[in-house]
């Protein structure tokens, strides 16, 4: 059992699938009963706007964090990063089902990934574990993993400032709230269960179950004496479905091909000239074209049906294999991207532009260096352990 609690946030599935709801509630309830974790529930992470109460809640959390959601872990991680919920990548065994030799699995992969892309910025020294709830339908699987992680992080790896206390922000309903800064409330260790909640209709953040103080300073955790239900959904109620790209900065090289290609003003750059998904909601629902043109597959559309575009990294065997469909007659990624973009342009009452716009770099980047690298790759196919 955990020596101290770990903070867990469950991101609900979009829609009202009862099986998924049941899994979420089972995990939440059992974690609370066992006293393993401080658990809170937010609506589907990807759909949260930056000023949504659920996102503000996430931003207020300090220390190591486990986020469970119905998205690939990469998608969870970089959605959080885009919203300022930053941390180093904690590796869960649940995301590594394929290779069961677990010895090396507890090291963050940050360094490996960051060496290829421009990397995230302003990353605090804490771990965020992103876990895909599609891994397994059995809540016990997640409970065990979270208990393991709680034990793992109970050896203090880092000590952040802020006194370490999990704080409940006072945030009124779905309103624009308080700038993401947690306001002390309910962090008194008493916990104030909200029994009015039914899982979908909670309209205020009236409570997570909190069986004591959160972050290693308590010693006062008590078994709950009240009947447990799963926690209220922070900023719950109906959340509008959204569609926008999410950049994986561990891969992104800041090449700017996406900003050149997108004609809908989704992308921008920050004060350091780093590429940024600036206007998320300018994106056209269902269109993943920029992801296809990205040379390093750094652009994730978490809801896309193709695992590679949705942020898959592990998962089914097929995800590791080369998809040769394009070679065997399918439209190329670029052709498909151009087609998809043209469809959205026409739908907007604009003229289709074909491949004439936004692809100059791609059409001229036939350099020798690239050829050498790829030549080696081809010759090394046999040695790839897939």
């Amino acid at each position: 059992m955990a020596g101290r609690k770990i903070t867990v946030v469950i991101s609900q599935a979009p829609g009202k699938n009862p099986v998924k709801r049941h899994l979420e509630e089972e995990i939440a309830t059992r974690l609370m009963l066992s006293g393993t974790a401080e658990v809170s529930v937010v609506p589907h992470l990807y759909d949260l706007t930056a000023d949504h109460t659920g996102m503000l809640w996430l931003k207020s959390l300090r220390g190591n964090l486990v986020v469970l959601g119905w998205l690939y872990p990469r998608a969870i991680r970089w959605v959080l990063d885009r919203n300022g919920v930053k941390g180093k990548e904690g590796e869960s065994r649940l995301n590594r089902i394929e290779d069961a030799d677990a010895d090396d699995q507890e090291h963050p992969q940050e360094e490996v990934a960051a060496s290829r892309g421009i990397g995230a910025i302003d990353v605090p020294n804490r771990l965020i574990y992103a876990i895909d709830l599609r891994n397994d339908g059995d809540p016990e699987v997640y409970i065990k993993e979270i208990e393991r992680l709680a034990d793992l992080v109970s050896v203090p790896l880092v000590q952040l400032g802020f006194g370490g206390g999990l704080q409940l922000p006072v945030l009124p309903g779905n309103g624009p709230a308080t700038n993401g800064t947690a306001t002390a409330h309910g962090a008194n260790g008493n916990g104030t269960p909200d029994h009015s909640h039914n899982g979908d209709t909670g309209s205020v953040i009236s409570g997570i179950f909190s069986n004591g103080n959160s972050n290693g300073t308590n010693g006062h955790a008590e078994s709950p004496s009240l009947p447990m239900t799963s926690p209220a959904v922070i900023g719950g109620g109906d959340v509008r479905r959204r569609w926008y790209p999410v950049i994986d900065y561990s891969r992104c090289t800041n090449c700017m091909e996406c900003i050149d290609f997108c004609l809908f003003g989704v992308y921008g750059v920050d004060h350091s000239d780093r590429i940024l998904v600036e206007e998320q909601d300018n994106c056209k629902k269902g269109c993943p074209a920029c992801s296809r043109v990205c040379p390093v597959n750094a652009i994730i559309f978490p809801e896309h049906k193709t695992p590679g575009i949705a942020g898959a990294e592990g998962g089914p065997v097929e995800d590791f294999k080369i998809d040769l469909s394009k070679l065997f007659g399918a439209p190329s990624a670029l052709e498909m991207a151009v087609l998809e973009r043209d469809q959205e342009l026409v739908a907007d009452g604009r003229d289709a532009v074909g491949a004439a716009v936004g692809l100059p770099k791609r059409q001229t980047c036939q350099n020798e260096k690239t050829r050498d690298d790829l030549d080696d790759l081809m010759d090394g196919l046999d040695s790839l352990d897939l």
Partner: protein, 150 residues
């Protein structure tokens, strides 16, 4: 019999026999009765490597359009949807492959044929196909790199 053409995939020699015609989507075609027998070229097999699974999604004797999905293939290194190489008719499939798709690896230019096909569309000569390979090699490598990201 004339020597096959050779296209170098890195250090791998992909043989392109000159006794048949080709589709740009990496299939060869050789007359067989009133139809064409179609199979993967050495270039395609090199990319696929060991074929584990082959599944056709249309019935024999089906009219198809170019790029229409007709099946799926999975190998040790790759998966792919299979598309019709041209407008035409898929007449029958090679039943032997359904039991043992490894024939594609063992004998891709003969016993490993995929299906019989009829089309009125023009095909490529061996020389023309090699030119297609040369023109597409950069893109093929990029495709592989994008998907591996290693």
């Amino acid at each position: 019999m004339s020597e096959p053409l050779v296209f170098m995939m890195g250090k791998f020699e992909a043989r392109i026999p000159v006794d048949r015609m080709y589709f740009e989507s990496h299939f060869w075609a050789v007359p067989h009765g009133d139809a064409l027998r179609v199979g993967f070229t050495a270039y395609a097999v090199r990319l696929l490597q060991d074929v584990y699974f082959l599944d056709w999604q249309i019935d024999p004797d089906t009219q198809v359009r170019k790029k229409q999905t007709i099946g799926e293939i999975e190998s040790s290194k790759a998966v792919s949807t299979m598309y019709a190489p041209a407008d035409g008719r898929v007449i029958q499939f090679n039943e032997a492959l359904l039991n043992d798709p490894s024939l594609i690896n063992a004998d891709n230019y003969d016993k490993g044929w995929l299906y019989e096909f009829s089309t009125t569309q023009p095909l490529l000569s061996p020389d023309e196909y090699v030119k297609v390979l040369e023109a597409g090699w950069e893109q093929t490598q990029r495709l592989l790199k994008n998907q591996f990201n290693e």
